[in-house]
């Protein structure tokens, strides 16, 4: 189990507990947030699981070419943008801060 700090679209920060081995997208969904669409279910095909990793990006693999290309489809891309379905949680993700990006 790791603890994550997730800020929803209303700007409210929530502390959620998540199981390692899941993706950050799954952890956010499992925690009952309703803003994250994640339409392709984590296939890296839709970019509707866009988050900003405010702190703790080091816990994850670097952005792949596909993820990078998909992030380009968002009008809200920032330097710390990631597709949460591509971020697999390990113990190193404990304390992560992430914000759900605005809907495109």
């Amino acid at each position: 189990m790791v603890h994550l700090n997730i800020t929803d679209r209303a700007g409210v920060e929530h502390v959620v507990e998540a199981q390692t081995g899941l993706s950050l997208m799954e952890a956010i969904r499992e925690a009952g947030f309703d803003d994250l669409m994640a339409l392709c279910g984590g296939c890296c095909s839709c970019a509707t699981c866009h988050v900003y990793v405010d702190d703790g990006d080091g816990a994850f693999k670097a952005v792949s070419e596909d993820e990078n290309d998909l992030l380009d489809s968002s009008d809200h891309r920032q330097a710390n943008s990631r597709l949460s379905c591509q971020l697999v949680l390990t113990a190193a993700a404990d304390g992560l801060r992430a914000t759900i990006a605005p809907e495109d």
């Binding site: 339409l39 890296c44 839709c46 596909d66 998909l70 489809s73």
Partner: protein, 415 residues
């Protein structure tokens, strides 16, 4: 009778992608009335695409494909009435009745019942080892039988059949895939993609038979032991998976007097011809702006979600257009297939990139404008095509076929 008092402001029939998203969106938008989902399946809403992908292969458990955790629905005050099939609708009294005899009233009824898999009709088609891939229960039945199976016959060369074939090959099953049409994915994509997918599956060991129909099944003790083809050939097999499309689930609405053709006819706001009854998702035939306004059914997660949003806006009295540009994905082996737009009605197909490298796109144009794109392992093209298709961009065909020039840079100069 107390039961007569059960009433929901919004009653959603079907807890699939469309129904679930509607309930989520209504609550997100602050809808204060009562909401219920009446669903024929016994489990809360889950994602269907993994059924022929990660769930079939065992890579993901059921919990991981739930659209929301089970507790979510109660927390959002959405009544989940599961294992109940709606059998009849009385549009005058605004009531529905379920198979177990429960009667419920509604303010608005949203029909989101999807479709049932079309069944094979040839002799022997009632055998117990013939499967379909639509519901969790279907896939659990396949998974339970697989350990005893060495050869699988897949009927239908559409996305679901091909995805199932890829998973079966990964599990080292022998696979024969029958497609009655001249090519794979013939209904939905251009020749170049069909040819590529055909070669790719063959290279992975699938025995692909196009332009081949089924004559009958040879059965023993109620089980298929061989498929007999229309050319007389006999293929010994111990499991059949049929992926030959769906029949929209609209019977109760049709009986109630709704206008039904291929699906429930709805307008651009997903209203049926009956008062306060809407239809969304796979079962609804709506005028599609990406198909020149023709009434079509689109079977995709995108369509289910966008139509849910359209109805949510309407019920909330929010006048906000929903950009429902069609898009789709499919995964087979390590291939990433993505599509945007609808290719029907194109007058020109351009192939961009080399099939041999397994990284190429097909551009579909009509009167010089880009209307749709299929991509294979070319996410960049997919992303750039979304903007171009949305804009109805005119492309310079001679530049567009050069895979080294970014798609966004091949827009033709204004005439």
């Amino acid at each position: 009778m107390a039961q007569e008092d059960i009433f929901y402001d919004v009653l959603i029939v079907g807890g699939g992608h469309a129904g679930a998203q509607l309930a989520i969106t209504l609550r997100q938008m602050g809808f204060a009335g009562s909401v219920a989902i009446v669903g024929a399946e016994h489990v809360p809403p889950y994602e269907r695409p993994p059924l022929s992908k990660e769930y079939l292969s065992g890579a993901k458990s059921f919990e991981r494909i739930l659209i929301r955790p089970e507790s979510f629905w109660g927390e959002r005050n959405v009544a989940m009435i599961l294992g109940e099939r709606v059998m009849s609708v009385d549009p005058g009294k605004k009531r529905i009745v379920t198979a177990s005899g429960r009667s419920m009233g509604y303010g608005s009824l949203v029909w989101a019942a999807g479709g049932s898999p079309r069944r094979l009709a040839c002799a022997g088609s009632d055998a117990s080892n013939i499967h379909v891939v639509r519901n969790l229960a279907d896939v659990d039945a396949i998974a339970a039988a697989l350990p005893q199976v060495t050869h699988v016959t897949i009927v239908g060369g559409g996305y679901i059949g091909l995805e199932a074939a890829a998973v079966m090959r990964k599990m080292d099953k022998a696979v024969t895939l029958l497609e009655v049409g001249p090519r794979l994915l013939g209904r939905v994509t251009g020749e170049a993609l069909s040819a590529f997918v055909d070669e790719f599956h063959r290279a992975k060991g699938v025995d692909v038979r196009t332009a081949t129909g089924l004559a009958s099944f040879e059965t023993q003790d109620g089980r298929v032991v061989a498929a007999v083809l229309d050319n007389g050939q006999r293929i010994a097999t111990d499991m059949v998976i049929a992926g030959i499309g769906i029949v929209p689930e609209v019977g109760a609405l049709q009986d109630a007097g709704a206008s039904v053709a291929n699906g429930v006819m709805v307008d651009a706001c997903c209203r049926t011809s009956l008062p306060d009854i809407f239809a969304i998702g796979d079962c609804a035939a709506s005028p599609n702006p990406w198909a020149d306004g023709a009434h079509i059914r689109v079977e995709s997660v995108q369509n289910a979600n966008d139509q849910a949003k359209i109805v949510a806006n309407l019920l909330m009295d929010v006048d906000k257009p929903v950009d429902a540009m069609p898009w789709f994905w499919s995964n087979q082996y390590d291939l990433k297939l993505q599509s945007v737009g609808l290719s029907m009605g194109h007058d020109l197909q351009l192939v961009r990139g080399d099939r041999a490298t397994a990284s190429f796109s097909i551009l579909y144009l009509r009167e010089g404008r880009l209307i749709a794109v299929d991509t294979v392992n070319r996410v960049k093209d997919y992303v750039q095509a979304r903007a171009l298709v949305a804009a109805g961009a005119r492309l310079d065909a001679s530049l567009a076929v050069d895979p080294d020039i970014a798609l966004k840079d091949v827009v033709a100069a204004a005439a």
